[in-house]
Point group: C2
Chain length 445, copies 2
Amino acid sequence: MPVELNLNYTQNYVRPHELEAVWPQVAAAHNSLHAGTGLGNDFLGWIDLPVHYDKEEFARIKAAAARIKKDCQVLIVIGIGGSYLGARAAIEFIQSPQYNSLPKDTPDIYFAGNSISPTYLNEILRLCEGKDICVNIISKSGTTTEPALAFRVFRELLINKYGPEGAKTRIYCTTDKARGTLKELAAREGYECFVIPDDVGGRFSVLTACGLLPIAAAGCDIDAMMRGAADARSAYSAADMDKNDCYRYAAMRNILYAKGKAVEVLVSYEPAFAMMAEWFKQLFGESEGKDGKGLYPASMIFSTDLHSLGQFVQDGSRVMFETVVDIGTPRADFFIKEDAENFDGINFLSGQNMSIVNDKAKQGTILAHIEGGTPNIVLKIPEMNAYEFGFLVYFFEKACAISGYMLGVNPFDQPGVEAYKRNMFALLGKPGYEEERAALEKKLK
Amino acid sequence: MPVELNLNYTQNYVRPHELEAVWPQVAAAHNSLHAGTGLGNDFLGWIDLPVHYDKEEFARIKAAAARIKKDCQVLIVIGIGGSYLGARAAIEFIQSPQYNSLPKDTPDIYFAGNSISPTYLNEILRLCEGKDICVNIISKSGTTTEPALAFRVFRELLINKYGPEGAKTRIYCTTDKARGTLKELAAREGYECFVIPDDVGGRFSVLTACGLLPIAAAGCDIDAMMRGAADARSAYSAADMDKNDCYRYAAMRNILYAKGKAVEVLVSYEPAFAMMAEWFKQLFGESEGKDGKGLYPASMIFSTDLHSLGQFVQDGSRVMFETVVDIGTPRADFFIKEDAENFDGINFLSGQNMSIVNDKAKQGTILAHIEGGTPNIVLKIPEMNAYEFGFLVYFFEKACAISGYMLGVNPFDQPGVEAYKRNMFALLGKPGYEEERAALEKKLK
């Protein structure tokens, strides 16, 4: 299997019968999910997406990616949250965190509209100087503050650089199929459009056009990605306790939460996994963090963070467990040669590939951490490629849905995100928020 | 003051007398620290470092930085933990996270030896192709696995490229003043050396040569940085409850911990702060995460993460509080123009600088989060420059020392870091670990 779950390193903390004890809850969650009777059941489009996606649009995405490659050296991808993290995670996982710096025949990709920092925006503009540019704006409504602001700036830049007609062939809109300000503008201007489906929430959208266009533009094999997701869909379609690792993972994290763990740390030994962990944190944090509940989602990259946060994991507050993503084969290995002098005393590492050392570091760390009181769940994946990315995305999405239902929340909404937006609009003097503004300004201190 | 503490947004959770109630503990911590009678008192060199540093070495560091700028297009900085995070945090904070990509008259800087990923090492090697290279290896002993491995590789590369003599002028060693394998090698080969002081631990070492050489090589003003730290040293030298914001911050985080908060989230609204937050996480996590105690240190960049983890902060498990670093003036602002059509409906944002919008987002978020049950501590700093970096580093270092003593731990050791290393050595067959190896292999499952 492309993901293998190992629960052996939870045995000091969880008794053999405990998984069995919660399995009826797993089965109930499965039934709610597949019958479409649970909370948030208008957002279940992701379940069958890997097989029931729009094939015509998929072909258009590949054609657009090919055109982008021909037309520009820089692709600006404008989006925030679920319209940002998935694509970036995929590009770093499948290609590299150094994607932009490394030699390649695809454009550099910069993400914009994911903060309100003018410093960041100015820097991205500077990186575009003298380059040919295309833009992919990803926004369901077209009015979300961060991407809307950035799109104004880059649209104007394209119009100034290429003229109104030239700009039209360089702007790609991923938005609602029918409504919203971005859809209206695109229709009027003739920008090519791709669809954010109504029944797929932002954090579940990486396998829609939201993720697919930038990922394809970065030269990743999106066919393999969808195949991976489709295989995961088949693999985790039944609530079978012996076979469904996805559900067993969901169950185990709920067991550990019920036993008092407050933080789940997603760990990997590859820097290229860092953004995938950010994607994971949104998926689980936004799905489960509501009604005063949920595991706080955190992440670390080892061995890097063993030298910063390792002390805490080993011996600090016993608030966390680790979920270790163990990657079998690195993208490129490195043979450690013997040094005749052994001046640094590390010849005991030599005569083998560096991946072996990384692997032993992983084994040694797991044993040390469980000894220290931190349970470890291990997810083994064979390598980091497009197929594996699709498989893992689906694994986590389905685990998240099951886990959220077990926790008793609606895993598909995010009502809490509106609170800061409302305050921000009021403080910025958005028409219609006048009364709230006065009340809020009194609270500032 | 270069750092202004605002505790008003904790008032829903902490009563007025509580700070007063713990002040005797603050005073006791202060006395232990300044009398040198507390745990870990052989690692207090950081306290007076901003004024009592080695001026001759400081001048040599600046000269070396100037030589590096002349000699290479790529500086490889080899180090892990405290020999990595501080320098990287400073370069991103003072220059930019896009430092390598942006036009400049200083070399690109790549960090190596901070993981065991062969994929990452291969990529860094690829980025060096055709470039002139210098290396700064930072390691007290010279035998720490990650940096030692990377140093073997880059040293060989330099010798192959420039010959043994040429390589000598391109290798800079930051290490123990007298002992260790790296010191021995450097002495024999004639590499220029800088000192990691005996009484300054890794996570407190950014203002020593560990941080200073790479930071200076990136074109940052290290004089201003030391001045900032020296000013902070003066500002926070007395346990005066009305004036010492550093101690009040330390006290408040202990109060919130005692009231049940498990996670401190360091928040900023500037992407350039992200690595500073990683540095913070090591500082506090490694200092306090021991004996089963400590706040789990986490970080977020807003508004980016408001669209991923904002839901959790607003309405998930009430396990955290936020410490918001509020940056007054951005490095570069951006004026938002009116759009004649207002196609996106965001003209209410126009006619002002983007930093105002970022600021209102911050205010709105603080009010929303405290309403949702997450206390907010606010640290206001005027801008992101070298002086401010030095000031903030010292602020956090001293807060960490006081906070650790209040918590009842030794804030200056990290015994838990050894556990995984011992296991790793045994599993890798390091001579002397034979018995442990057999025992460990039996535990792998």
